[in-house]
């Protein structure tokens, strides 16, 4: 097989399979960690550099702008609180996309999956509003995960069964998701006379606590909630799942080389469906943050494209849960800081944040080229 075709089949060179088996020599691990971190860090620095030049060209002071951006994202408690809050959905969608990548799938449909999940979660929260919190919170969380998983399973099955490409199908499912959720909201779940397309509120029992209610010193007005803790746990769980279980091995093997996976007695079709389901479930967990922890209802347009930003997060985080966590926090900080830049600078708008994000992705994507130049990835005979 030609090498070029080989790359195309393998599709995502960044989805590298390597993960340390535990207990290898520390120095080697440390070196590897440093290597892994170098490129994302360089990419971020380069993005800020170019962004700074842009700011200067527009006519504002880059140093001041960045001081504002970073300062507002890291101030205590509001800056940190909001940064973590904004990061939460991105952790979920970043994990979702990374899970797909690891199996060689590009799940563009996290947006649709989280939309469906948010609606279904609100539906459960409304329909069983009178149950106790003990019942309702686990139930609604389960609905969030299951509905996201189900929505993603459809393109998974289509790919496994008929070989139709997941990118196209997940994009289509995004449109269907928004349409279905809106129509159902409009017809069955809207408050009489409400001008906004949103559902009734969910039952109080389904509200998950805000961090401020648990840890004193953080004001409860900050919407950071237990979903963040769930997100961090999800990162840890995903690591264990992918690298410590036989199921994760099978998913990674499929992503790394489906031919070899098949040879190793792994059903590639099953892995595709499984990876899509897990990916969708992770995307669906966004509903825990947005519906159960923040707005307490579904409303159309609640997601500023979390699903698509998740692709960037996964890319920057090198499809590793720890990387996704860090990348999501970074993006969360940018979102938070962007608001302040928008308001408190004369000329720069919060689009600066979008530009920075785009630049980071561009530089991360350029990594493959750098690596080649350094003669690191070339294969043997």
């Amino acid at each position: 097989m030609s090498r070029i075709q080989g790359y195309a089949k393998n599709a995502y060179p960044l989805a590298n399979f390597l993960a340390p088996l535990r207990g290898a020599r520390y120095t080697a691990q440390l070196m590897k960690l440093i290597r892994e971190l170098t490129f994302p860090l360089i990419a971020i620095l380069a993005a800020f550099l170019v962004g700074g030049i842009l700011v200067a060209l527009i006519g504002d002071d880059p140093i001041q702008t960045y001081a504002l951006l970073i300062g507002s994202a890291l101030s205590w408690p509001d800056g940190i609180g909001y940064t973590l809050f904004y990061a939460t959905p991105l952790i979920f969608t970043g994990l979702a996309v990374a899970m797909g990548f690891r199996c060689g799938l590009l799940n563009i449909g996290a947006e649709g999956q989280l939309t469906v999940a948010a609606f279904a979660t609100a539906w459960a929260g409304i329909s069983f509003a009178n149950s106790s919190a003990w019942m309702l919170i686990p139930l609604t969380c389960l609905v969030a995960i299951a509905s996201g998983a189900l929505w993603a399973t459809i393109p998974g099955v289509l790919k496994a069964r008929f070989g139709s490409h997941e990118v196209i199908n997940t994009i289509m499912m995004n449109f269907i998701a928004v349409g279905v959720a809106s129509a159902l909201t409009q017809t069955y779940f809207k408050q009489q006379g409400d001008p906004i397309l949103e559902t009734l509120p969910i039952g109080d029992g389904a509200h998950i606590p805000r961090i401020g209610q648990i840890i004193p010193g953080i004001p409860a007005r900050i919407p950071l909630n237990m979903a963040f803790v769930v997100a961090v746990l999800a990162c840890a769980l995903m690591y264990v799942f992918l690298w410590r279980t036989k199921w994760g091995y099978e998913i990674r093997a499929t992503g790394a080389n489906p031919n070899a996976a098949e040879y190793g007695g792994i059903s590639v079709k099953k892995q595709i469906v499984l990876a899509m389901a897990v990916s969708g479930g992770l995307a669906g967990m966004v509903a825990i943050n947005e519906v159960l922890g923040y707005r307490y209802r579904y409303y159309q347009g609640f997601s500023p494209q979390y699903g698509f930003t998740g692709i960037a997060v996964a890319l920057l985080g090198r499809n590793h849960p720890a990387g996704v966590l860090v990348a999501a926090l970074f993006f969360g900080a940018l979102t938070r800081g962007g608001l302040f830049v928008d308001i408190f600078t004369e000329k720069v708008s919060k689009d600066l944040v979008l530009i920075l994000q785009a630049l980071v992705i561009l530089f991360v994507a350029a990594e493959a080229v750098f690596r080649r130049r350094m003669g690191k990835t070339e294969s043997q005979v």
Partner: protein, 504 residues
């Protein structure tokens, strides 16, 4: 013409090239031989600007030249054909050749003009390649000639060929050597890496031997012998033919009856007993691949007819996994495409196929991978099969071709197998390792395992098979005693002439 002077290159703590000096005279065919991992590919990739040397210099026409990228090399008239071709399958020959030949060509692509030049080059060197043909319709041998054309089109004066014959059938090798001789006549210089000493003797003018990253010696081909080269390469006497006791066949392990696959396999029947090696000889592409994959459970059930009995049990409905569980091991012909997860570690590769059961997994649930036993298994494979470098954390990609092969064979031996399906076990493997692999296969046989060996090397099947069948156009055309049959007889059968006339 081309000279490498004191080239040193390290990968991590592997010293791949250690002060390598090679002088290639203009207009000669220069062979480079050496064990797997000796550093041959690395040295040549440095000359081609693919890797950058840590120290040392490259001289072209006597002048030191900085070669940092393949572009620099091409500008100096150096071309390289890698063992794994770099062609876009869905494009035509001409498009592939023009692609990236000169900067800016993508905009003003003059395919037609290029086609003319390609045609005349093809005629000049008797390559018989149509510039309009689509790559995926070409045979491996033809694709290789397209790679040659690509280098010639870029006006290469020096052609570096990394194991060009490993993928060719014996007939194709002969044609290929004709082409190389013609190139030499036209004043081109050729550097060829190969593991086959008879090829070195047949084609080259001079030969350089490498071991452990160092150059051990230069010889004029006319003044050396296969035995001397082998000794230099391996550092000891090498048995070019394994010694084995006569087989002691036991009960029938595998019994195949009228196995057919549309257009590929035509009513194949045979049995293999415990403790014997059944060889299948044949020109590649006559159904060997399909036969092995069908037996391993990698061909859709609906595509096959006939029956496969393994150890008294009909298995043609069983999945690849179930067959492995019964003790059917498989060494695939294409190790990188089928046999390995190149980016995964040696340890992770050592459990492929058994990753879901004891001892790879642990705990009551049987879900969690068990590092300690995985590492122990990898270590057994590494030690038992001399995989170098002996580091289970390295990605499989970092191993040289022969070591990748030893890793796969070692993994399959760990199963442990009752039946081993093994295809092209020594392709691209050095002579020391060939001897080693052959001894392992014979030892496996002696321990009572049944072995089905498919190989395009006639030498190989006649040397280690106890019985030999010949396959042609998806049919078994005859069986011979490998100790008695001559190569001519077998060759005739491989070409479709049947010895025992069973016309129908």
């Amino acid at each position: 013409m081309l000279e490498l002077r004191n080239i040193t290159k390290r990968f991590g703590n592997v010293l791949a090239n250690d002060r390598v000096n090679i002088v290639v005279r203009p207009g000669s065919i220069h062979a480079i031989v050496g064990e797997n991992g000796a550093g041959k590919s690395t040295a040549m990739r440095i000359a081609y600007g693919f890797y950058r040397a840590d120290s040392g210099e490259i001289l072209v026409d006597g002048k030191p030249q900085p070669i940092h990228t393949p572009h620099d090399a091409i500008a100096l008239g150096i071309g390289m054909v890698h063992q794994h071709f770099m062609l876009v399958d869905t494009m035509t020959v001409a498009e592939n050749i023009v692609l990236g030949a000169e900067p800016g060509t993508l905009i003003s692509l003059d395919i037609r003009g290029a086609g003319k030049r390609i045609r005349s080059l093809s005629e000049e060197f008797h390559l018989a390649i149509d510039p309009g043909a689509v790559i995926e319709n070409l045979s491996v041998g033809q694709q290789q000639r397209v790679e040659l054309l690509k280098a010639l089109y870029r006006q290469a004066r020096v052609l570096i060929l990394d194991e060009p014959t490993a993928v060719l059938t014996p007939q194709e090798v002969d044609e290929f050597f004709q082409i190389l001789r013609r190139m030499r006549e036209q004043g081109k210089t050729v550097i060829i890496i190969t593991h086959k000493l008879d090829e070195v003797l047949a084609i080259s003018d001079e030969v350089t031997v490498m071991r452990d990253g160092r150059v051990l010696g230069h010889r004029k081909t006319a003044e050396t012998t296969a035995a001397e080269l082998a000794r230099l390469m391996v550092g000891r006497e090498v048995l070019l033919r394994v010694q084995k006791k006569p087989a002691v066949p036991g009960r029938v392990i595998l019994s195949v009856r009228r196995l057919s696959m549309k257009g590929r396999l035509n009513g194949i029947s045979f049995v293999i007993r415990a403790g014997e090696i059944l060889g299948i000889a044949g020109v590649e592409g006559n159904g060997q691949t399909e036969l092995i994959e069908a037996l391993a459970g990698l061909v859709g059930e609906s595509e096959l007819s006939g029956s496969i009995d393994f150890d008294g049990r009909e298995i043609s409905r069983l999945s690849a996994r179930q067959r492995k569980e019964l003790g059917i091991a498989h060494v695939p012909e294409d190790r990188q495409r089928r046999g390995l997860l190149l980016d995964a570690s040696v340890a992770e590769n050592s459990i492929l196929g058994v990753h879901y059961r004891e001892p790879a997994v642990t705990g009551r649930s049987g879900i969690m991978l068990d590092d300690a036993s995985i590492r122990a298994r990898a270590q057994r494979v590494i030690e038992g099969f001399d995989v170098r470098p002996a580091n289970s954390e390295l990605p499989a990609r970092a191993l040289s071709g022969g070591n990748q092969q030893k890793l796969i064979i070692g993994r399959e031996f760990e199963l442990p197998p009752k039946l081993l399906l093994v295809s092209q076990p020594t392709r691209g493997v050095d002579i020391g390792a060939i001897e080693f692999i052959h001894r392992k296969l014979v030892a496996l046989r002696d321990s009572g395992c049944a072995v089905l060996l498919v190989s395009a090397e006639l030498e190989e099947v006649t040397a280690i098979a106890d019985r030999l069948m010949v396959i042609y156009a998806g049919r078994i055309v005859g069986e011979v005693d490998p100790t008695l049959a001559t190569n001519e007889e077998i060759g005739l059968m491989m070409a479709g002439g049947s010895r025992t006339s069973d016309e129908d």
